[in-house]
């Protein structure tokens, strides 16, 4: 990720989600990710990280749950990654990741929506929305 993008990503995240105290971290290989905790009613919490892939921003970030989730959880990919877009989606359309507009800040909203759906699923065994993301 180039410097300009990094600055804009940071600004977007802080502008929208500073209340969640997102922290930008770097692993040993220099790969950057955000860590923060989502909150829902009843004191439920879901710590997540939003990982910038090497192909960013052409490739969308990964959203990873940092806690163990029950087996059989819908819309969950290997590696505890939250499913928020079709992995092979490559055609231009209204919902596709848009590198000129979207930042990792978008993923926080997506993850929050996923978290609410997950809590409903825990109670009812039914995923309440037809997909994992909606723009």
């Amino acid at each position: 990720m180039d410097s300009k993008r990094l600055v804009l990503e940071h600004a977007a995240m802080m502008e929208r989600w500073s209340a969640l105290e997102p922290r930008l971290r770097s692993d040993a290989s220099g790969q950057l990710h955000w860590e923060l905790t989502l909150h829902a009613e009843g004191g439920n919490r879901l710590p997540i990280k939003i990982v910038y892939p090497s192909g960013y921003p052409s490739d969308a970030p990964d959203i990873v749950a940092l806690t163990s989730l029950p087996s059989g959880t819908p819309h969950l990919l290997p590696g505890n990654r939250i499913c928020w877009r079709h992995p092979s989606e490559s055609k231009r359309n209204r919902n596709i990741w848009c590198p000129s507009k979207d930042t990792a800040a978008l993923c926080v909203g997506v993850a929050q929506r996923w978290f609410y759906a997950f809590l409903v699923w825990l109670s009812t065994s039914k995923w309440p929305v037809p997909d994992a993301v909606s723009n």
Binding site: L6, L24, S26, G55, S58, S90, K91, R92, N93
Partner: protein
């Protein structure tokens, strides 16, 4: 080969000396890209760089829509296309590069910096975005094209230094509501991820029509460097091969739009900061990230 004789009939329109100085990268040498490359050679473009994915060979189902034929079945498309092009312009210098542009960004950037034009002829968004980013960074003109579902029509866009980039245009087209929702490509059905994608292939002539417009935009761009008159006003061409309710009022209808640059575009926008300010801010962010991270 007698160069004067070869260009005898076109010299009055396009001086071969002008085209000879050009270096065009054609990224993606499928049905569309192959035609753009073929036309470029017929313009007399001096150097053509053909880029395709590794192991991208001509298969039988490609032939009905490609400039290559049965004698090249099983060959890497780039290599076979080089031979095909040299048959009509042996003086053209052709480089064939096999690479994944999404995975090998640094190499792509190096190639693009050598070019006077880049033609994006790939059909997937991640690759288009990568090519756009590198062309914008290098300040090299990018011409892209796409054929709409079923070959009903297509689009050709031109990204020039300081103008709207592909990402600006894609965002404008997808999210402005300019297209009728019913005409927009359908999203995947998330409830049925294994389902069949609802798209229809295009015919050869449908693809060729759009590819020739792409080549024409490349030609106009090349000539624009030597002619102060505007080549065409706008940066985006819509062309209808067939009539489509709400999009193309009749067959062979066309429209040219000037899609504005988005000053807030995360790819080509300035972001309201100087380079020094950006670098200082980035250093500060990274320092804090490392300190708090490990």
């Amino acid at each position: 080969m007698n160069r004067d004789e070869l260009f005898k009939r076109t010299r009055a329109i396009l001086k071969p000396e002008v085209a000879q100085q050009q270096v065009w990268a054609i990224i993606g040498v499928g049905s569309g890209g192959a035609r753009v490359a073929e036309e470029a050679a017929r313009f007399g473009v001096g150097t053509i760089i053909l880029i395709d994915r590794p192991d991208e060979c001509l298969e039988e189902h490609n032939i009905i829509r490609h400039v290559l034929g049965y004698k090249d079945l099983g060959r890497p498309k780039g290599e076979a296309l080089r031979d095909h092009i040299l048959n009509s312009n042996p003086g053209c210098e052709i480089e064939v590069i096999s690479m994944d542009v999404v995975k090998d960004r640094d190499r792509l950037a190096t190639i693009i910096r050598r070019c006077t034009q880049v033609h994006c002829c790939v059909d997937n968004e991640p690759a288009k975005n990568v090519i756009n980013e590198e062309a914008v960074a290098a300040g090299v003109t990018l011409v892209f094209a796409g054929v709409f579902d079923g070959g009903c029509g297509g689009e050709v866009g031109r990204v020039v230094d300081g103008g709207a980039c592909y990402a600006c245009m894609a965002a404008f087209l997808n999210r402005s509501g300019r297209f009728d929702e019913s005409q927009a490509p359908q999203t995947f059905d998330y409830t049925n991820p294994d389902g069949i994608e609802n798209s229809t292939a295009a015919l050869n002539l449908d693809i060729a029509q759009i590819a020739l417009i792409q080549a024409r935009v490349g030609l106009l761009t090349m000539l624009g460097r030597h002619d102060s008159a505007p080549d065409f006003k706008g940066n985006y061409v819509l062309f209808g091969n067939r009539r489509v309710e709400g999009l193309f009022p009749r067959m062979l209808s066309s429209d040219i739009w000037e899609i504005p640059r988005d000053p807030c575009c995360l790819i080509c926008g300035a972001g309201g900061m100087t380079e020094a300010q950006i670098n200082a801010a980035a250093e500060d962010i990274l320092a804090k990230a490392v300190c708090s991270g490990n």
